[in-house]
Symmetry: C2
Subunit: 340 residues, 2 copies
Amino acid sequence: MEVGEPDFAPPKIVGTALSEACSKGYTRYGRARGRQEVLDALARHVSEKFHPTPQENVMVSPGARFAIYSAITTLLSPGDEIIIIEPAWPAYRECALNSGIKIRAIATTLEDRWEPDPGRIEDVTSPNTKMIILNYPNNPTGKILPEKLQDDIVEIAVKNNLYILSDEIYSTYSKNWKSILSYEYQNSIITQSFSKSHAMTGLRIGYAIAHNKIIDRISKLAALCLTSISEPIQYAAMKALEADTSEFADTMQRRLDVMSREAGRIGLEFASPDGAMYLFARTGIDGARLADEALRHGLAVAPGEGFGRYGDYIRISACQNEKTLIDGMNILSGLIGEYR
Amino acid sequence: MEVGEPDFAPPKIVGTALSEACSKGYTRYGRARGRQEVLDALARHVSEKFHPTPQENVMVSPGARFAIYSAITTLLSPGDEIIIIEPAWPAYRECALNSGIKIRAIATTLEDRWEPDPGRIEDVTSPNTKMIILNYPNNPTGKILPEKLQDDIVEIAVKNNLYILSDEIYSTYSKNWKSILSYEYQNSIITQSFSKSHAMTGLRIGYAIAHNKIIDRISKLAALCLTSISEPIQYAAMKALEADTSEFADTMQRRLDVMSREAGRIGLEFASPDGAMYLFARTGIDGARLADEALRHGLAVAPGEGFGRYGDYIRISACQNEKTLIDGMNILSGLIGEYR
């Protein structure tokens, strides 16, 4: 219950697509931004599902992580500042620090239902601030921002000419959520992935959506370090778009409900997740210590400190069946009882 | 006849492996350096073919290019110097410049049979010099260094504690060639790929061999920007090792012989390639202009200026069948005749 990796198998069509890839000619060098028909298919998918998007605003990426790394590395310069709303997936911070970018962290709290204060965002924004990272539905809290609050944050970003890097990879598991694409802001970069939506973590395939000029800049780094993106995997992703994965979303929602119920039962403090596939809970015990102890009892959870200054939190992943989740919560309950 | 991409199809076993990958469980996140059984298989392959190598000295990479990018980016710091022997694949220079590394280029000449003068290498080596790149069999010249000269260059690198980054991806098409692995130098990094050896360019899979401490450093960047390497593609590469690709090498050698014969016939100046899959020829005409003109006549070649200060050279790739190669050389002959 530690890793953010669904226990689902990829849709059957993915296996079929991989078996066809060589005979369909998906074995050659291509453009770094992706094969044309794959970009066309992705643009159609994004247009239907999120917001009308032309294919020239799409690029393929070996996982959303590479798109995030590339966007931070190529759009910003050493000394620039980036706003990260915490708790946050540690990769944003790591990619920024690797490129000499300074972090302006905005800590949110359980008491504020994980909602950042727009005033705080304005306060930390200086002429050196060049980007804000949004990740809703959120890892680790499952939070989806109220629409008005999201509108306000986008307005601040637009006013200060910040790039918005919006990591939306948990959107398929969520309702009542509005893509940053819908603001039609020319300095936004949206990252998406097949990892969670199609249980294709190990295939390493995702995509980014941004203005063509931004895609041009980002994809230069892909050309430099990757030449192009694995063609059989691009083909498998294109075919995966035809699969109905609504069952994944339904299952994940049921599991989150079970986890919330169990977490309440054993006395954890948390906000019920609006989406994504995690529960971020305060236990009153040092999260690293609790995670170590849990591991000795056969349960893996992620300590909160990985996501910011959340030492007495843990992230519990709903990527297991309901029985395993309940068993895990019982182990946790026993451990917490011992500590108290 | 421009791109370095064999016209062969990947071995049949690659298609079979891709069709099996999902059912064999190659769909999950893994270690950035690669799946254990893939590393084991690669280590056995390298040990049999080049030099005894333990699995902990091997890492998988999405193409050799990413291993080269990672090695340059993670082992060197801005302001460090790197020695590149020209003519050279432009990616070395581009990766170095992208990381703020200074280039110390050593130009070799056709008159010297593309052999660098060890004295020149010593001359350009300063305390800031941290790496030398070797690429034999060479792109674009097809050169393989005489063993004594290679020994001397390695000795200079060892004496000055330079990393040796040896790009050996053309080795499968070549005889009378000695891997840098055989020197057992702890600061060497060897990059290999399935692109040329197994006609798997579009699958994007290669590997690096280096001391475990170096692999640790390099694979941290892979973890940061890729999480891990596509699992179905790792599986396909592991299976591809079982294929007999000696026919590729024989075919490429026949084509190089045909190209050399034709190039001699039409009066180009060149050194017959010892290996790889290119012919680098002086035409006495500006290479960019000649390449443009050739393209209008249906022939693509790469201008020499991409490989260093070789403005009146072109690189001709042997990645086509013999008839196409002969037709291409005839087009070239006609164009050169017009210019003279």
